[in-house]
């Protein structure tokens, strides 16, 4: 047992030192490569500022940056447009079928972004988009009115994909919200609309702001949808720009130096966003909504509005989940890919399932299972420790921790992966054989997901008043016992959310895996990507379908358990 809070903080600090060292190394590698030109890791590489000059003097880079800005703003807007109201409906109203809402929002995560992008290509592509064809026929137009392959179009598709994240980031905040202020407002004659505007939303503002910051940074760094919709149509974002520099499509060596410069730029952006977020945190005490007294959330009766609410959820589910899933099923059974038609329906078969290389699929599944087991546990443990240090301790290192934990989120995963790749290849070498192993992927996943865990846990810990822990200390409980018996039960829903969301994100994560996969360490999403990248859409779809079908019952069971557990806590 630790005698004082300071000693306890120091012990926790030593635990979180390891991921912080990893983050520092990956960032240092970025700085290091940003000053190098030539074949990295060979004597021909020289130290220079040429990469910085090249990036900042290239008008193409500014076009890319402008595209990224438009794309990110659109994605954030669309994500909140769906995610925020659905979270509010699920947590603050009497809407029926809450487990189903959670399942809908979660299942979407299993569908790789490439399929949402593909689905929207079939809906809104200028030539093959069903919606465009319909509008042309209806209004006798000569040109297609919608083009999905623009920064706004891609931002819309990305926003649909990120709505689930906006939902989960804000749901827990609505769940833990103290209803006494709303009730007081109601007693004073305020209507629901006014209460929502003047009480609920201001109370929720730190959570919403955190979600905005989080989604903004994802938007800047995201890869799959810009890659599928943008690369082929020559609309580039920062992430696809980096990809092209690292993976020259034809002649030339990978330009890691340019990637490093963009990485350094991202670190600066992360710094600014962290400062902003830090300000929100410092004012966090104003938003503590769970106290030791009278914490009993009440729900708003929806009545007839339920139909409209479910309408919104259905529209969202159809656009972002059902359509891509139907498309996956169709693509998995067609002999070759053409837009759906009655003529093609007669040619559907299960051939692609029979002819799959199951050894490859099982290898991918085994590695994914290892990652899904190890990474979420590590993330929950480290995330809680970091959050506790940030929110509860007075240790000066908490600012560094906050910055360190947030940094990987602002860095495109491509950059984290490249940092890990170069470090494992050229520094660790065969001394610590991480290159080509599943553990290098696990390490990058852990540090990459810490930002998500700490965002969620910071919010929850902020909402729990210190008086509960102080009461426990007065009663003679140690720090560990206080955490176990007071904090854990109160934030169990958040811990559960972090665990399952990390598991799901790891289950479907692609970017890092694509960069770090060699032979033995291939993951299931990387198997899908390799089929997709090779132009074998049918087999990629077949594996995706298997991947989704296997996990669907498990997810439903998890959410059922999760909601039961939450009810018991409340």
């Amino acid at each position: 047992m630790w005698s004082g809070r300071g000693q306890f903080s120091s012990a926790l600090l030593s635990l979180v030192l390891l991921p912080m060292i990893v983050i520092a190394i990956l960032v240092a590698v970025m700085f290091w490569v940003s000053f190098q030109k030539g074949a990295f890791g060979t004597p021909s590489a020289v130290y220079t500022l040429a990469n910085y000059r090249e990036v900042f003097s290239d008008p193409f880079v500014y076009r890319v940056a402008a595209n990224t800005l438009i794309f990110t703003a659109t994605a954030t807007f669309v994500a909140l447009l769906f995610g925020l109201p659905i979270a509010w409906l699920a947590e603050r109203t009497t809407i029926a079928g809450k487990t189903l809402i959670y399942a809908i929002m979660t299942l979407g995560l299993l569908i790789p972004g490439i399929y949402t992008a593909m689905g929207w290509t079939l809906i809104a592509h200028p030539r093959i988009g069903i919606l465009n064809r319909w509008l042309i026929d209806l209004f006798a137009l000569t040109d297609s009115p919608i083009n999905i392959a623009t920064p706004i179009g891609m931002g819309f598709v990305q926003g649909l994909s990120l709505s689930a994240l906006a939902f989960i980031l804000t749901a827990q905040m609505f769940r833990a919200m103290n209803p006494s202020l709303e009730e007081a407002a109601r007693v004073h004659g305020m209507g629901y609309g006014k209460i929502l505007r003047r009480v609920t939303l201001p109370l929720a503002m730190p959570g919403i702001l955190a979600a905005v910051i989080y989604i903004l940074t994802i938007g800047i760094a995201t890869f799959d949808i810009p890659a599928i919709l943008g690369l082929g149509n020559r609309v580039y974002m920062l992430s696809t720009f980096i990809y092209l520099k690292v993976h020259p499509q034809g002649a030339g060596l990978p330009e890691y130096g340019i990637t490093g410069v963009v990485g350094v730029f991202m670190i600066l952006v992360a710094g600014l966003l962290t400062l902003w977020y830090g300000q929100v945190l410092r004012q966090g005490h104003r938003f503590e909504v769970v106290t030791g007294k009278g914490y009993k959330p009440t729900l708003i009766p929806l009545g007839g509005w339920s139909v409209l609410a479910w309408g919104l959820i259905f529209v969202y589910a159809f656009m972002s989940k059902i359509l891509p899933l139907l498309l996956i099923a169709y693509a998995a059974m067609t002999p070759y890919f053409v837009p759906p038609s009655w003529a093609m329906m007669s040619q559907l078969s299960l051939t692609h399932f029979y002819t799959l290389n199951w050894e490859l699929v099982l290898r991918g599944l085994t590695n994914t299972a290892i990652l899904v087991t190890v990474v979420p546990l590590a993330v929950v443990l480290l995330g809680f420790t970091i959050s506790w240090l940030i929110v509860r301790s007075r240790n000066r290192a908490r600012y560094a921790l906050e910055f360190g934990a947030f940094l990987p989120h602002a860095l495109p995963e491509v950059i984290l992966a490249i940092g890990a790749l170069l470090f494992a290849l050229f520094v660790l070498g065969t001394t610590i054989p991480l290159y080509g192993s599943v553990w290098i992927i696990a390490i990058v996943y852990i540090v990459a997901r810490l930002a998500f865990a700490t965002r969620a846990l910071n919010g929850s810990l902020l909402q729990i008043h210190r008086e509960l822990e102080e009461a426990a200390f007065v009663a003679g409980l140690s720090h560990v016992k206080t955490a176990w018996r007071v904090l854990f039960p109160l934030i169990r829903p958040t811990l559960f959310s972090v665990w399952i969301w990390t598991a799901l994100l790891v289950y479907r994560e692609l970017t890092v895996a694509v960069f770090l996969t060699v032979q033995d360490n291939i993951t299931l999403p990387a198997v899908i990507w390799s089929y997709w990248y090779g132009g074998i859409i049918n087999k990629a779809s077949a594996v995706t379908l298997v991947m989704t079908l296997v996990l669907t019952p498990l997810i439903l069971a998890f959410w059922w358990f999760g909601r039961r557990s939450q009810v018991s806590v409340n």
Binding site: G41, Y47, G232, H247, Y336
Partner: protein, 371 residues
């Protein structure tokens, strides 16, 4: 050189030496490789496993590889286990193997199968293991002119070939509309409806002095870049079947059309009247191969009639040097039409010092819309 630069170089040198020392401890030990087929088989037996990596749609990918291994096991009375992982495209995979070799790590693949450009990169970085292929390959075809299957220094073997041309959707591009000459793709009716490749396939070879020349192709590519709706990779033929693009100008070969047509896909491939470039597929054993004997044995197997049949079955290509080759038949038709034919090989690429520079230039024009 300034003092600061020399200090930076010293730091760099120290790092490289330290890294080299680190790698020399426990790095991939060079393995003895057999010189006769019998020794090769014995060596492969001891190695036991063959790791393969290339594009998912190349040479049958994940589905074709087990059949190749089964064929090898039967033919050479082995019990070799195969592990295939789909990898990136040919040049990127070679860059990965080069990087792994430089870092003292085992290669991602025990045997490399790819194009002449990638082999050219592998030769420049000294990543390919010289072997006595002429001693153990059972079925060596006769050379055609100065083009032979086995490289003089034994670093690589040509095992298949296919011809550059134009890929199109037969439901959407019909009859007289099908481009016959290179300039036909600039017809305004195709504006915003066709694609090219991000790596300037075909264009880069047409830009050599042997064909149309650099200046002419730069001008052509600028016009083409304004004409196209986007970029797609070779092998993504389903973007043509879906109608996203009506045609691809130009391809890396018509081999995937040969395969997809069997399932009724509305695709066709045509060679331009000006002529074509034969894209040769090469095999080599990287110096950091974990199973060099098994890798070399796979190369030998692909050169057998059985191996060539498998290549045709899964990837729609074979080596035009073999008398019964299907690719030879296609090539003879171009010859009969008096089209110009160039065979792309690492040696041919090496004869143009500006080849890579021109390719980069063409890629940038295509990427940035001809601006």
């Amino acid at each position: 050189m300034t003092g600061q630069e020399s200090k930076a170089r010293r730091v760099q040198r120290c790092f490289v030496w330290a890294t080299a020392l680190l790698f020399s401890w426990g790095s991939v030990a060079p393995q003895a490789t057999a010189t006769t087929l019998k020794e090769l088989i014995e060596g492969a037996k001891k190695e036991g496993v063959l790791h393969g990596q290339w594009g998912g749609n190349s040479y049958g990918g994940a589905e074709g590889f087990p059949e190749i291994i089964a064929g090898m096991n039967k033919r050479y009375n082995l019990n070799l286990k195969g592990q295939f992982t789909p990898g990136p495209d040919m040049q990127r995979l070679m860059l990965r193997v080069i990087q792994e070799n430089a870092a003292g790590q085992p290669g991602s693949t025990d045997v490399y199968l790819g194009n002449s450009q990638a082999i050219f990169d592998g030769l420049k970085s000294d990543t390919l293991k010289p072997m006595t292929f002429d001693k153990f390959i059972e079925n060596i075809p006769k050379p055609e002119g100065n083009f032979g299957a086995i490289a003089p220094k034994g670093t690589h073997v040509a095992f298949a070939s296919t011809m550059v041309g134009l890929l199109y959707n037969t439901n959407l591009v019909k009859g007289a509309d099908v481009p016959r000459r290179i300039n036909d793709v600039l017809n305004p009716k195709w504006k915003g409806k066709i694609a090219s490749t991000p790596y300037a396939a075909g264009l880069r070879e047409f830009a050599t002095p042997d064909f149309l020349g650099r200046e002419k192709m730069i001008e052509f590519t600028k016009k083409l870049s304004k004409q196209i709706a986007g970029l797609m990779r070779c092998g993504e033929s389903e973007r043509i079947t879906s109608g996203e693009f009506l045609m691809l100008a130009f391809t890396c070969g018509g081999n995937d059309v040969n395969v997809m047509k069997r399932s009724g896909a509305p695709l066709a491939h045509t060679v331009m009247e000006e002529g074509t470039v034969v894209h040769t597929r090469y095999a080599a054993v990287p110096k950091n191969s974990r199973s060099p004997n098994a890798g070399a044995l796979l190369i030998n197997y692909l050169m057998t009639a059985e191996g060539q049949e498998l290549l045709w079955k899964y990837d729609g290509l074979d080596l035009h040097l073999f008398p019964g080759s299907q690719t030879k038949r296609e090539l003879d038709a171009v010859r009969a039409a008096k089209g110009k034919i160039i065979i792309s090989s690492p040696e041919w690429l090496a004869s143009y010092k500006d080849y890579s520079k021109t390719q980069k230039e063409l890629e940038a024009i295509l990427r940035e819309g001809g601006k």
